[in-house]
């Protein structure tokens, strides 16, 4: 990371860094994070269009938080599979891993079909399977309709 970049993004002492976000997706991922009630008060830094030796350009998010709920991480992995998560402890990268999308997203996203049973029965969980990972298309296991991931909204607990 260049000196200029270091100035723009303050280092965090403890928290989570979501790195290698494809350019243009930073805001979308931040929206996913902000929708989760447990994440609303978290201090966040968003970096857009930073130079990346790996990808040319990238977005970046730093969160002053101990952990990101698994459902938020799952949703992020569906939108941007392959991004890097770094756990920072005392200014050092304590753990680094790449997130992969789940084959089944259970009770993470709301079905867009108003006639789907998951929108009629409050005690029925939603379930989507990935039918086209490249095109980011998901199929509702109940009404069996296929939707682009970008059309589906997360379930806010």
């Amino acid at each position: 990371m260049s000196e200029m970049t270091q100035m723009l993004i303050p280092k965090i002492d403890n928290g989570i860094v979501i790195d290698h976000i494809p350019t243009g997706y930073g805001i979308a991922i931040l929206e996913i994070i902000r929708r989760d009630p447990g994440m609303r008060d978290v201090v966040v830094t968003l970096g857009l269009n930073y130079r990346s030796t790996k990808f040319g350009k990238k977005d970046l998010i730093k969160l002053w938080v101990d952990d990101v709920p698994p459902r938020v991480m799952q949703h992020i992995s569906l939108v941007c599979p392959g991004i890097t998560i770094k756990r920072i402890s005392d200014y050092r990268v304590e753990k680094r891993y790449v997130i992969r999308p789940p084959q089944i997203a259970r009770n993470l996203l709301r079905c867009l079909n108003p006639s789907c049973v998951t929108n009629a029965e409050s005690n029925v969980e939603t379930c989507f399977t990935i039918v086209d990972a490249e095109a980011k298309k998901l199929k509702c296991a109940y009404c069996e309709r296929v939707f682009p991931l970008s059309d589906l909204r997360p379930i806010v607990p």
Binding site: S115, V117, C140, C143
Partner: protein
Amino acid sequence: MKRDLISVDDLTLADIQGYLDMASLLESVPDERKLTRLPGKIMMTMFFEPSTRTRLSFEAAMCRLGGRAIGFAGADATSVVKGESLVDTVRTVEHYADILVIRHPKEGTARVAGEISVRPVVNAGDGANQHPSQTLLDLYTIQKLYGRIGDLHIAFVGDLKYSRTVHSLIRALIKFSNLRFLLVSPESLRLPPYLIPPPAECANVTFQETRSLEDAIRSCDLIYMTRVQRERFPDLLEFERVKDAYCIDAGMLRDAPGHLRILHPLPRVNEIAYSVDRTTYASYFQQVQNGLIMRQAILLTLLGVTP
């Protein structure tokens, strides 16, 4: 492990062939022997939506196999009007019966019932999604008419947007090969794109669209007519505009090829004139007859009983 019949997407080609073979076998079983197949067994019909053929044919099928049918037609007569959830309704009624047959306007309801119930569940129609028992009887009818299910040119006519029988049947047919589909519908009732699989997923199956019913009569082996379903339209003005878009009568069939057959899941309204009933093209009442056999095959298969 218990078996359900929820969606044709869950069925392999071998599963479908199993149901077809069971139905075929049942045709040769004497009525007296059939009566000894399911004595003491109870089938629960849970119909939250109106039905004539599906409910009665399931009930008749159960009676013909020596079992009994209980249930309700319309949610008004149940505790659902008191606010009882579907989950609680299923968990209650499963104690009263050995197999559940469910129809519901909400899509995916039968899947939910299948997941929570220890009893086999049959989807008898869930909204605009699936109607697998109708699909199996349609496939059985096609096999009986042509001696095969592949190598056919099939037109689907009318409401291709909301017709669950069409959705189910197309999803089952694409498991077979060498099929050409001609989709005939008004613009507003076209087949949803998500039902047309990418070419790589179905061998030698092609889809074409037209607005002309005459094209279908001239070129197809089979015409699958559908009713434009008033109950599925959010906008009744749109329903009025398209309700009589495609009607077929005996005069239109004057120059039709001799091998053409017309199917319809019924009930019909205006889309097939009564004059067609007297022609050799009409096969929709054979479908009804095959429905009874297929539903017997479904009950026996899911309850693990041989014919």
